[in-house]
């Protein structure tokens, strides 16, 4: 994965969209391998694409020449990305990936809190959705 410094709002939003799309593709792939849980996994993929919309709406709705959209420090994309080659062909590694993505959202939400609070709040909402997803995954993995 190429290291990208996430030092502007635009860079963070692009990275977020890629993260959600990669995540959606991952769940779709997992669904094709796991027919028993396929429906649930596809619903997660759909949720990932909804998350993209939530983020886009928050950002495009509040971006303004008044806000410090480029001056809030930086995050390294390398610490949070999904590496397609490392994805296991089953649910075993998915919890770790979910943890990484949530960590990204929380770190980014903290950075953006003073400057783009709507985006920060949207990120926190997505973390809540992802935590619920984790609970469902735990349940099925425990049962499985």
């Amino acid at each position: 994965m190429v290291l990208v410094k996430l030092n502007t709002a635009s860079a963070i939003i692009s990275f977020t969209k890629k993260l959600e799309e990669d995540s959606a593709i991952l769940y779709e792939e997992l669904a094709s391998l796991d027919k028993e849980r396929g429906e649930m996994l596809l619903s997660f993929a759909k949720e990932n694409r909804d998350n993209k919309t939530i983020v886009e709406r928050a950002y495009y709705g509040v971006i303004s020449d008044q806000v410090e959209s480029s001056f809030f420090g930086e995050l390294d994309s390398e610490e949070y990305g999904i590496d397609a080659e490392k994805i296991p062909p089953d649910l075993s590694g998915i919890m770790e990936i979910e943890e990484t993505i949530q960590r990204f959202y929380l770190d980014a939400a903290k950075r953006l809190r003073s400057f783009l609070p709507d985006v920060s709040n949207a990120f926190k909402r997505i973390v809540k959705r992802r935590r619920k997803r984790q609970e469902r995954l735990s349940e099925v993995m425990g049962n499985g």
Binding site: V4, K5, N7, T8, A9, S10, A11, S14, Y60, G61, V62, I63, S64, D65, Q66, V67, E68, S69, S70, F71, F72, S114, F115
Partner: protein, 494 residues
């Protein structure tokens, strides 16, 4: 990530008159150049006097029907325009970056602020309402109604190529006037693209017209008896002239002009949040903004002053300059080579007059392989006094001048010694000091722990002293009043 450029081929712009795209007959054509890549992105005609007059005629003809179109119907055209702008949000934003140089976040911010003005104007049936009183005397009622005046025009500056005309146009047409936009010839593409959407929104021919041109076109509009009012954004020198000529010909005028904005940093300011705000204020839009910070007045003891300077310089030295379509870039180039030359002249003057150069932006450092022609990195001067040229005049570039004052009184004296009064900000944790500042400072837009005091579309865009000429301001209710005249009706029935 570097975003894709939306303009692939250079095109010669046309005028939009009476609902038609018309080739200019002028033989004077200027190049529109992307200041980051220095590649040609468009060609703009400098329209002739006759072409400008044709645009005024078309707008005058359209006025008769448009003023009789109900406000609720006029608002629906603006609703459609808003929808089209949302659909084309990213396209419009990237065009701004290509022709102006600003970063993509800044361009999107500009697009959003433009759309917000269209949104506010959509509520014209409410905003335009007059008022009445039954029985001012027995059996006699009195009412005030607001009516449009005719044709208005705007002469915008280059620094916000999409947004500035939108401070005015939506309100003008929503209230029943017709309108002519003469974009800055330095970056006219944004208005050309916006006009495409105006055309798609289906406004009747002649309600909105775009005429490209330079000083002669502006002069023709100022002199034309068919023009009822002018809105102008640009330098104080030209703004005074516009104001004078509008006075001579009986036109209404809003002239938003130059600025030299002071930001006061008190010792109790939260530096962690203040510094990013100052970075954005001083260096955002590469300093080409009438609300940009120009002079920072630090109030506090030596220890605080030293800490402030070192933190400020360190943060500014990390700013990444480059092509605005590169998402990692935090400031773009200046809009033109001439703009850069002008700013370089001020930096030299600052050195000559004895200010201490703490960060020299002339040592160009940019992300990516682009010509340095229009680039200038953040520059910071320390030990600046308000009477130095760099402390007094508008630089319109990424140059910060740091000053010191003993207390808030001293800071206010410095601010009030300057002829401008566009914006002023204070950074403090003290509500008492903030209130005192708000109460006493003579500036039209005031920020408290805000570095760019840009009013939202539903508030007027202020300005005082040599930064503003006129009575009513752009945006919101003041714009509605500017674009309408009040008529009082007193009636009784026998």
């Amino acid at each position: 990530m570097i975003l894709e450029e939306p303009i692939k081929e250079t095109e010669k712009l046309k005028n939009y008159i009476d609902g038609e795209w018309v080739d200019s007959q002028s033989d004077q054509i200027l190049d529109v150049v992307n200041p980051a890549t220095f590649k040609l992105v468009g060609k703009v005609p400098i329209s002739t006097r006759q072409e400008v007059e044709r645009a005024v005629e078309a707008a005058e003809e359209a006025f008769e029907d448009w003023r009789d179109t109900p406000p609720v119907t006029r608002a629906r055209y603006l609703f459609r325009l808003k929808g089209l702008m949302e659909e084309n949000f990213e396209f419009l934003s990237r065009v701004q970056t290509m022709e102006h140089g600003k970063t993509i976040d800044e361009s999107r911010g500009e697009t959003r602020r433009g759309i917000e003005n269209v949104e506010v104007a959509c509520s014209i049936p409410s905003l335009m309402m007059g008022y009445n009183l039954e029985d001012i005397a027995v059996g006699i009622d009195e009412q005030l109604i607001r009516q449009p005046l005719g044709v208005f025009c705007t002469l915008p500056a280059f620094n916000f190529p999409l947004m500035i005309p939108l401070w005015f146009m939506p309100y003008a047409v929503a209230t029943g006037n017709t309108f002519i936009i003469k974009p800055s010839p330095r970056d006219p593409l944004s208005q050309d693209k916006l006009c495409n959407l105006i055309d798609k929104a289906g406004f009747p021919p002649g309600v909105v017209n775009v005429i490209h041109g330079g000083a002669e076109a502006a002069s023709t509009l100022l002199e034309h008896p068919g023009i009822k009012g002018v809105t102008f954004v640009g330098s104080t020198r030209v703004g005074k002239e516009v104001y004078k000529r509008c006075g001579e010909t009986g036109k209404r005028v809003i002239a938003q002009c130059s600025a030299k904005n002071f930001l006061v940093v008190m010792e109790d300011a939260v530096l962690e949040s203040t510094i990013p705000s100052l970075m954005s204020s001083f260096f955002g839009n590469t300093g080409q903004r009438c609300l940009s910070g120009a002079n920072a007045i630090v109030v506090g003891k030596d220890g605080f002053y030293d800490k402030f300077i070192s933190t400020f310089v360190k943060a500014a030295s990390k700013i990444r300059a480059g092509y605005g379509l590169d998402e990692s870039v935090q400031i773009g180039p200046l809009q033109s080579k001439d703009s850069k030359e002008r700013v370089l002249g001020y930096i030299e003057k600052g050195v000559e007059e004895g200010a201490k150069l703490r960060l020299d932006g002339r040592k160009i450092k940019i992300v990516g392989d682009y010509p340095e022609i229009c680039f200038l990195n953040p520059t910071i001067f320390d030990d600046v006094s308000p009477d130095m040229t760099i402390g007094r005049e508008e630089i319109f570039g990424p140059v910060a001048s740091i000053m010191r004052a003993e207390d808030l009184d001293g800071a206010l004296d410095m601010i009030h010694g300057n002829p401008y009064g566009n914006a002023s900000c204070i950074f403090t944790s003290s509500g008492k000091l903030a209130r005192e500042f708000q109460h006493r400072v003579r500036a039209g837009n005031v920020g408290i722990n805000i570095g760019i005091a840009a009013p939202m579309a539903f508030f007027p865009f202020g300005g005082m002293n040599d930064s503003f000429f006129g009575v009513l301001h752009g945006q919101g209710m003041e714009a509605v009043r500017f674009f309408t005249e009040s008529k009082v009706v007193i009636q009784r029935w026998f």
